[in-house]
């Protein structure tokens, strides 16, 4: 009974975790940038949803789409600002880690100045409230509504990546920037756009984070970043499908831990990340050649 509940609940929740992590992976994408401010972008997405709901009475489901163009532009601008200097340095991956850590502090400080320190929440009835009943057990509306908004979103993203012209250019740049440039692809622009898409996915996750986490507060970012990082390491850095699968598995593990060992449940992401790194550093879907 409980076991099945934890599995199905874990899958529903895991779809949210997949979205939570996939943005971090996308930002890593072409330029190998580690976005330690990922959780803070998610936090901003949450505040975005809150403002849209209370100022313009816009449903969070719609807000998920509204935040996309805003954050793509934001991410693109930021990328053009920092990437040239960062990529010139000896160890861009390491420096980006530190740079985005600083950015995370800035965003957190500004958010608490602008939005105040108290957590903000959206009312339960701002989204459909009826429970989903599966095999005789009911699942909370928050879970299935978020999952059914996020699934198509992830689907569209995968189609974009594999079927559209920009998506193909992105993949060309990721696999070999030099060759892509020879083929006439503007790698800087493409990388910038892809980076912005990573921010947008994070912001979308933020909208649903308000429901899953029961609110949004300025200091929530770093913990979310660590969780997201655990998931992408588990599912192989740079591998989109791997991240999505890893997110779902993470959701299941977390729910099983809550059923059987509740007081240790916060260990799940840490154990996951350490175990993956030590046992299979390339992650679930990685190929051996990458030095993790």
């Amino acid at each position: 009974m409980l076991f099945e509940y934890a599995i199905i609940g874990g899958i529903l929740l895991g779809i949210f975790y997949a979205l939570l992590a996939v943005g971090l992976n996308v930002v890593y994408g072409a330029q190998k940038i580690i976005n330690l401010a990922h959780g803070d972008i998610i936090m901003l997405g949450g505040y975005g949803a809150w403002e849209l709901y209370y100022t313009y009475h816009i449903s969070p489901i719609l807000s998920t789409i509204i935040v996309i163009p805003i954050t793509v532009v934001l991410g693109y601008g930021l990328n053009r600002l920092i990437a040239p200097r960062l990529l010139k340095s000896a160890d861009p991956e390491m420096l980006s880690l530190i740079l985005f850590f600083g950015l995370s502090e800035v965003i957190e400080a500004l958010a608490s100045l602008v939005f105040g320190n108290a957590a903000r929440a959206l009312p339960v009835n701002s989204i459909p409230t009826s429970r989903l009943v599966l095999f005789g057990q009911g699942y909370s509306a928050t879970w299935w509504v978020s999952a059914s908004v996020i699934l198509p979103l992830l689907g569209i993203f995968l189609v974009f990546l594999n079927r559209t012209s920009i998506g193909l250019q992105v993949r060309a740049v990721i696999s070999d920037a030099v060759e892509a440039a020879v083929a006439g692809i503007n790698a800087k622009r493409i990388s910038g756009i892809y980076f912005g898409i990573g921010f947008a996915l994070a912001a979308c996750a933020g909208v649903w984070g308000v429901f899953i986490y029961g609110g949004v507060s300025p200091t929530e970012g770093p913990a979310i970043t660590v969780t997201a990082f655990a998931i992408i390491v588990f599912g192989s850095l740079g591998n989109t499908v791997g991240t999505i699968v890893a997110g779902v598995i993470f959701g299941i593990f977390y729910q099983l831990a809550q059923v059987y060992i509740p007081s240790w449940s916060n260990l799940v992401p840490y154990v996951l990340v350490i175990a993956t790194m030590l046992v299979r550093p390339q992650g679930l879907f990685g190929r051996r050649q990458r030095i993790a």
Binding site: D91, L99, A109, V233, P281
Partner: protein, 328 residues
């Protein structure tokens, strides 16, 4: 024009006698300043923490500055030290100064346990240590271990409280950390690593066993953090697990070290003193802006001065003497 870095750079070519003097000065100046400082400015606890932060920044220096491995989870050793020494005092009535040493040893043991993390590189290592430290925190504070660690209830060391001795120990630790950093820097290992970094040399040619030396550097860094945590716990005396397993401890230590310049002996010390003093000066009025300011400092450092204050000086002096500026 004082040239901190010149000392560091010329050190390699200097005679052995001078090699010993320079680290001694680097360690002695802070000791004297701290010893005199407390009579001018009597917030002893603040000075104790400052000395601990110097030690932590030097610990970061030893592991990141000389090997390139950045431990985000450095605070884990700090917490392990605080708990190991606190429990040594409470359970076995060990005298505090000895307990501080025990805290250092315990942290080094945990460091040895985490050795497999060195299989990971760059960002993976950084995040791996963070995850490990968070896991240690979750374990230490778990109520099922209440009989051993007192779980979420924290430790009360009020019976051992002695601010003067704790202060003296903190100064000693800062000096030890500085000496350790200058030792690592001037050792064959440090020079080899610098050569590797400058791309003119390969490790295999040098005859230095890099992984083993790196392991020693890692243990020294862990022990320094463990002793820092022990002194912190002792001088704070009543603490909850979240106060000693606080990720902002590694954050500050990293920022202080980067700000001063890693890979040098003076950089982390100067970086800590300047930034921690500013932190408290702002903190007295409104530290909310400090988070904003130090966030911006990090961003600007990475973009414009990836080698910290020491790097800025280097560039200046290079320009002045028209030595070909090789950007790295």
């Amino acid at each position: 024009m004082p040239k901190l870095d010149e000392i560091d750079r010329t050190l390699e070519t200097e005679s052995k006698g001078k090699r010993l003097i320079s680290p001694a000065v680097a360690a002695l100046v802070p000791v004297v300043v701290f010893a005199v400082g407390v009579h001018i400015y009597s917030n002893e606890l603040l000075l104790t923490y400052m000395a601990i932060y110097i030690a932590l920044a030097q610990g970061i220096n030893i592991i990141y500055g000389f090997t390139g491995y950045l431990p985000f989870g450095y605070f884990g050793f700090f917490g392990v030290g605080a708990y190991a020494s606190g429990l040594a005092m409470l359970d076995y009535n060990v005298p505090p100064v000895l307990a501080v040493v025990i805290g250092g040893v315990a942290a080094a043991l945990v460091g040895a346990l985490l050795l497999p993390l060195f299989r990971l590189r760059g960002a993976y290592f950084a995040i791996g240590t963070l995850a490990a430290s968070e896991a240690i925190y979750a374990i230490v504070s778990n109520p099922s271990l209440q009989s051993i660690t007192n779980g979420p209830y924290g430790l009360n060391l009020a019976a051992y409280y002695s601010s003067g001795t704790a202060y003296g120990t903190a100064i000693a630790l800062a000096a030890i950390a500085i000496l350790a950093a200058s030792y690592v820097r001037s050792s064959k290992f440090g020079l080899t690593l610098k050569a590797i970094r400058d791309d003119s040399y390969s490790a295999s040619m040098s005859g230095v066993n890099v992984p083993r030396q790196r392991f020693y550097a890692w243990l020294i860094a862990a022990a320094i953090a463990g002793m820092g945590g022990s002194i912190f716990g002792w001088s704070t005396s009543v603490f909850y697990p979240q106060a000693v397993f606080d990720s902002s401890l590694s954050v500050l230590a990293i920022v202080f070290a980067l700000f001063g310049g890693v890979g040098t002996v003076w950089g982390p010390t100067v970086g800590t003193v300047v930034l921690y003093a500013i932190y408290n000066a702002i903190g007295v009025s409104n530290p909310q802006y400090f988070q904003l300011i130090y966030g911006l400092v990090i961003v600007l450092l990475v973009l414009f001065a990836p080698r910290g204050l020491a790097g800025l000086r280097q560039i200046k002096s290079r320009r002045a003497t028209t030595v070909g500026a090789k950007n790295d």
